[in-house]
């Protein structure tokens, strides 16, 4: 299994509070992604990174920001959490490829279940 960890694994927070989720990899892969998963929608890309300090938006980026200061860490921040951001968040990595790894498989972390009350 690819070495990907996410923290925290579960979090309950109140509307309006900031939240940061962390993804850590030990594979030295260049590409990292943040997805959210909701019933009926599958996985939706929030942001991705193609290198240290190189990030770009995905299809559902509003209300989220990311940072990548080291190859191994990719942080997702909800500046002011809303109930619509209640979801399961997955981090993924891939070794090579275009910005969204069209030719290479992605390896997923265990996920973070976030509840915003």
């Amino acid at each position: 299994d690819a070495g990907i960890t996410q923290s925290p694994r579960h979090k309950v927070t109140e509307t309006g509070t900031p939240v940061t989720l962390r993804c850590h990899q030990t594979e030295n892969h260049r590409y990292m992604y943040w997805y959210r998963q909701d019933p009926g929608h599958g996985l939706r890309l929030i942001h991705y990174s193609y290198g240290v300090k190189d990030t770009d938006k995905g299809e559902v980026s509003d209300g989220y920001s990311v940072s990548r200061s080291k190859t191994e860490d990719f942080l997702l921040t909800l500046e002011s959490a809303t109930s619509s951001q209640t979801s399961v968040y997955f981090c993924a990595i891939s070794e090579r490829g275009l910005a969204v790894a069209v030719r290479y498989e992605q390896y997923f972390g265990p996920g973070t279940r976030l509840t915003v009350t």
């Binding site: 929608h41 599958g42 996985l43 939706r44 275009l98 910005a99 069209v102 992605q106 265990p110």
Partner: protein
């Protein structure tokens, strides 16, 4: 742009075969297949690329019809371990964005 998966759910007996379909309205560069068990992360199964190249699991087969923008995943002689939700991800030829389908839930009964 989300690909359409069918069926949404299927229940089989162990040993039966299943076909899961994924279709797009736009030209595709590649199709990715993943399986997710309840409460776990998605796991890579296969990538099918335009032009016929494939990467993936030896025991799972899939097809990619570029003209119809469709892919099918074939699960033969299903085992209990095949249970889970199967997701396809399609990469458009125009912008190389990976978009995921809503998933097909597969339940295998003994």
């Amino acid at each position: 742009q989300q690909p359409v998966q069918s069926p949404q759910a299927v229940i089989l007996r162990e040993g039966e075969d299943a076909v899961i379909n994924c279709s797009s309205s736009k030209a595709l560069y590649s199709v990715h297949w993943y399986r997710q068990k309840h409460g776990e992360a998605p796991v890579f199964l296969m990538i099918l690329l335009k032009g016929g190249e494939q990467k993936g699991h030896e025991k799972i087969s899939a097809s990619f019809n570029e003209k119809k923008q469709q892919s099918s995943l074939y699960l033969t002689a299903s085992q209990l371990s095949y249970s889970g939700t199967y997701f396809c991800g399609t990469v458009l030829d125009s912008n190389y964005q990976l978009i995921w389908g809503a998933g097909t839930k597969l339940i295998i009964k003994p």
